[in-house]
Every structure is written in structure tokens, then in C-alpha cells.
Symmetry: none
């Protein structure tokens, strides 16, 4: 995908600058008005140079996705040790806050990126999403190992699917909402509640 291996510092700088420019353009102009010339402009290079680092526009989008995914994976690795020590409500709140922060940083670059649903343009883009899912499952597994009572939950995969996907989707939806009817704290509280209640419920049945 990346045409030229960043063998030199300058090249590395350019590749990053282009990816950065991609996010900026997407946030400022939307996907429909994001052109390679625009990206190159923001990156401070010429369109010709862009094509020395990326085979085509698609490749830039893929690199952006890669960047986004890597950033999420790093976040999850970072929070893991702390998260594992927390109880469910505190952990959920903690995770959701960190995730929200990440979506809002750099003028909401990632939030806007998420809303553009880039994967609708190329199915291959969404393959990366599975990596995040895997990592989340890992984290849950580690969490469960630190909180063995959770092993009594009937269906951990279902829990994962519901709570994790649900939380992520709702947060993105919420932050994109022009006039949300509840506050962010209410939302995060609610999601925490939901996790706690769900787990409690699922375990009662298995006592």
C-alpha cells in the first residue's frame, strides 16, 4: 500500500504529514470535498509527492484507518493495567471517558473520521475493525481473570458484543448529535449502569 518505505527521516515525516492532512481535510471538508490536491496542500507538499508515498487516494485512506486503529489499540494497551484493578462501574466510566477524550482530541478529528463511515467506500477498510474487537476481547478476558466471579456470566461473547459495540456506537452517535437530549455524564453513567445491571442479572441466573 505504501509505495516507498520511509527509509529516510524526511520520508517518514512526509508520510505522517499526509496522513495528518487526510484527517484534517476530512474533518474540515468532509469526504466529498477531500481531494488529493487538498490533502497535499495541507501536508505542504505537491500532489506529485503524495503519489511517491502512496499508490493512490485509497492508500491514504487505508493508512489513516491504520493510524486510527493503532491509536485505539495503544489507548487500550495503556489503560489495561489500571482498568483491570477497577470494579465494573468505575472501569466502564474510566474506559468511556478515555475513549471520549480520544474521539475529541485534535478538534474531533477521529470523531469526524468515524462519522464519515469510510468503510462504506471500501469494504477492505473495515477489516481493521476486527483488530479492535479482538483487542477488546483480550481486555475483557484479562478483566475476567482478575475478577473471577464474572466467569459466572452466561454468555461473555454476547455481553462483549452488546456492551462494547453498543457503548462505542452510542458514544460516537452522541458526540455527533447536534442537540442531544441528555448530558454526556448521564450517558456515561447510563452505560455504566447498564453494564453493571446486565452483569448482575446474568449472574443471578447462574448462582
Amino acid at each position: 500500500m505504501i509505495r516507498r518505505k520511509p527509509s529516510q527521516k524526511r520520508a517518514k515525516v512526509s508520510v505522517d504529514a499526509i496522513i495528518d492532512a487526510g484527517f484534517i481535510s476530512l474533518a474540515e471538508n468532509g469526504i466529498a470535498n477531500t481531494t488529493t490536491i487538498h490533502i497535499a496542500d495541507i501536508a505542504g507538499i505537491s500532489p506529485g509527492t503524495l503519489y511517491q508515498y502512496f499508490a493512490n487516494k485509497e492508500a491514504v485512506y487505508l493508512a489513516m484507518e491504520r493510524h486510527f486503529v493503532d491509536d485505539i489499540l495503544s489507548l487500550l494497551d495503556d489503560v489495561l493495567p489500571e482498568f483491570i484493578q477497577m470494579d465494573i462501574r468505575a472501569g466502564a466510566t474510566f474506559l468511556l471517558h478515555r475513549f471520549t477524550e480520544m474521539l475529541l482530541k485534535d478538534n474531533g478529528r477521529y470523531l469526524k473520521y468515524s462519522r464519515q463511515s469510510l468503510h462504506t467506500f471500501d469494504a477492505s477498510l473495515s477489516q481493521h475493525a476486527h483488530e479492535i474487537e479482538k483487542k477488546l476481547q483480550e481486555i475483557i478476558m484479562q478483566y475476567v481473570m482478575h475478577h473471577p466471579e464474572l466467569m459466572r456470566i452466561k454468555s461473555i461473547p454476547t455481553f462483549n458484543y452488546l456492551i462494547l459495540n453498543g457503548s462505542i456506537l452510542i458514544i460516537v452517535r452522541y458526540l455527533s448529535d447536534f442537540s442531544p437530549t441528555i448530558s454526556l455524564e448521564q450517558l456515561i453513567d447510563g452505560l455504566g449502569n447498564m453494564a453493571v445491571r446486565y452483569i448482575a442479572g446474568e449472574m443471578q441466573d447462574t448462582v
Copy 2:
């Protein structure tokens, strides 16, 4: 939006054929490759004819959104009387099944449409989304009036936001998933559970 009032049968047919073709093209080619020529082709008309019924491409998208929204609103109206009589778990399961059916009909036309998140391209498109939200709130309100014990829920708005948005988003996400880790029944069951548990929890606190 619609340029020529369908004064003749043929015209009405064309308008519908164009909207249909729009959904088909979106599903098959994605939004990036959906051109007016393509839509006209699928509709079996010439590009010129398309413009006799719609002022521009945007107007076709708006008509599609309108169609989609109207279909959802009809579904909700249809479902309301039956739904109101059910208990929470049954009601949730019932609604989710009906919603899933709608997303999958016509080769998943609406599912693919939902994933394209057309509203990210033009905010005006998402105005219609509010209509659905309103209708859902109405339904919840009617449900609560038939099940007065639910009035003890602490925060109905939060419940709405979490459960309704969450369920819709998760279902769309699930149906778009190439290799989901759980079955649809598990998912719907889980969502039902979640609603039940959440409500139970929120009410315990207020006893």
C-alpha cells in the same frame, strides 16, 4: 424537490423506479460510485428523464431518505397496538425482529442504505431522522402509559437514548458484520435482557 408532479401513471412509475434504482445502486456500488447515469440505467430510463422528475441528484437522495423514513414510521405505527400489550422482553424481541426484517428486505437495501450514513454528506438529510426519534419517544410514552409501573424509572430520556439508539445501532452493525461472533437470536435476546435488567435496576432504586 420532485420536479414534475406525476400527472400520469407512467410518471408515478418513473418516480418510484428512480427511487428504487437509487437504493439498488447504493447497495451495489456504494455511494461513491452511484451516479445519476447509473441510477437512470438501473431505472431503465435515460438521464434526461431522471431530471424531469428530480431537480438534481441530491433530490433523489432526499426522496430515498423520505421513502426510508416513511417506511420506518409505517412500521412503527403498524406495530404499536400489538407492542403496547406485551411485556418488556416480548416487546423488545418483537420490535427488534420487525426492525431486522425491514432492514433485510429487498436484498438488504435499507441495511446498506443505513450503513452509507448518507446524512454525513448533507446535514439537511438527517432532519428526517428526528421524525423517527420523535415517533419512538411517542411509542415509549404510550407504552409507559399502558405499564404505569414504568413511571418509576429514574430517567426515561436516558433510557430512551441508551436502549433505542443502542439497539438500532447494534442491529445495523450486527447485520453488516461479515463474521459476527454471536447469532442474531443471541443478540436480540441479549438486547431484550439488557432492557429488562436496566429497567429492573432503575426501578429498584426508586422503590
Copy 3:
């Protein structure tokens, strides 16, 4: 050019309505926005009907030119008897006023038509202009025969070319001027003066 001979009253009505509509559309929308559909609309017929009377758009323009030219020729025939009796200044003033009137009638239909320079679209259109020239020469000849002293003018053709074309062009130019620096009366006076002086000068030399 005209496809169907107006064998019936209704047909005649339609042909005239179309020509009329052509002038109206040209005046209101300019040539760039004058479409056959527009003309048909104004004429109160369908585009299909327009093509029963005219082979194509071009033919409508030709008929309009014909109409315009005929109207000018009629005007000239009308004014001839009166004009011939007048002295030069009075005659010039008289003619220019009648010509101005004609350009301004029907909301300046002919003025706007003249400004559109239709002949730039098709050279054949300007052939008609020669008919007017011829008629003008005839009138001048008749005038000269009633005012034999004018035979002493050195070059009647040059006089014709200068005074007649000049007056026509200047009047059209003047009436199209958004902010003319002189009044119409000053202009017509000036043109009268010019004719008188020119003739006086040309005759002095030949005494």
C-alpha cells in the same frame, strides 16, 4: 422553414403565438435562456406542437426576424407619404421618433431583440437586413424626387450608408444604454442636425 402551411385559422394563431412567445422569451430571458420548451410554454402549447409548425428552433428565429423585418417595412411604407412632404430636419425627427416608438413598443421587445444580435448565431438571419436597406434607399429616392435640389448631393449612396445606418445603430445603442450622457431629444436633435449639416455641406461644394 415553416413546416405546416397555416391552412386553418387555428394554425395561423399558433404560428403567431409562437413567434410572439419567441420575442417575449428573448426579451425576458435573453437568448441563452430561451429554450423551445420555454417558448412553447409562453405560447401556451406543448413543445411537440411547436415542432408541427417549425422544423426547428432556428426556424422560429427566422420567422421572428421575418416578422421584425416586415414590421419595419410596414412602418416605412406607412410613414412614406407624410415623410416625403417634410423638410429634412422635420423628416429626420419624424422618422427617428417613429423608429424609436417601434423599438420600444411591447415592452421593448424589438429593442431587446436587436441587441441580441441574433444574426451572430446564423449568418442567414442577417440576409433580411438587406431588404430594409433596399426599402430605405427607395424612400430616400422618392424623397429626393420630391426635393430635387438634393440631387446636387455628391454621393447619395454614402449619405445613405452614413446617415441611415448610423442613425439606426445609434438609436439602438442609445436605447440600450443604462446611463446615457444625453437625452433622447438631444440625440434625435443631433442626428437631425447632422443630416442637415451634412447635406448642406455636400451641396455647397457642388453649387
Copy 4:
């Protein structure tokens, strides 16, 4: 108007080539058949390139008008010193010849351009025309200052309007005439006569 500043030699060449091509296409095909693709073809570039230098077709026309106006203004500046020294007839003849030459150069490019009356399509185009009018008035004023006896002319504005507009319009008309009834020399002579006679007349009255 011009999108890309000609930062390189090649660019400057292209801008000029496009303007040139515009005149050529207008002369050869008329305004109705002058398309951006056609202009680009004549200029030896692709349509895409045309749009790197001009924002749209309109901008090309504006640049052409600018070019035309600048050329006329240069001509007038060039001619001024010599013109001022001449008597009226010689000056008129001199100016008319120079103007005729300009209209006929480059295969009558400007003549054909003038006939197309581009300004009828967009009033903004004719703003430039006022520049020429102003310059002409300046010249007349300078001329009058060198020939103080002309101050006795009753109405210099009327004179300007008649003689200047008239001469320009008649010359353009004449040169566009397929079968003129007099020769160019006769015409220019006549216009000279007319100016001389008119002035003489206007001054007699004010002695």
C-alpha cells in the same frame, strides 16, 4: 478571474493561448458553438488545463474582453500625440484607419468579436466598455484644448455621443457587411465630412 498566477513561462503561454483560442473559436464557430472543449482544443491543451487557468468559461470571456479593451486603450494612447496635432478631417481619417486596422488584424478577430456583442450575455462584461468611452472623452478633451476654437461647439457631449459611437458602430457594421454599397474610403471620407460639417454647423450658430 485567472485561477493560477502564471508562475512559470509555460503557464503564461497557456493563458495567452487560451485567450487566443477563445477569439479564434468565437470567430470561426460563433458564440453558440464555442465550448470550453473547443477552446481547449484550439489552444492545444486539455479541458482540464483550461480550468487550471480560468475558473470557468465566463472568466475566459472576461479575459478576452480585458484583452480587447486593453488593446483599444493602447491604440488610443499610441495615437493621441499625433492625433492632437491634426485638423479635424485628417484626425478623423487617421483615427478611423487605425481603428479599422485593429478590427481587421488577426483575420478580423476583433471585428468578429465585436459583432458577437458578448456584453448582451452578461452585463458585467460591458463594464469594460465604459473604460473605452472614458478614454475617448479624454482624447476629445485634449483635442479641444489643442484646438480652442472647438470650445464654441454647443454641445460637446452630444457631439461625442453621435460622432464617436456613430463612427465606431458604422465601421463595425461596414466591415461586417458582405456586400457593402460603398467603399471603405468613401465611408471614412464620409465620416470625416460628417464630423467637419457637424462641427462647422454647431459653431456657426454660436458665433
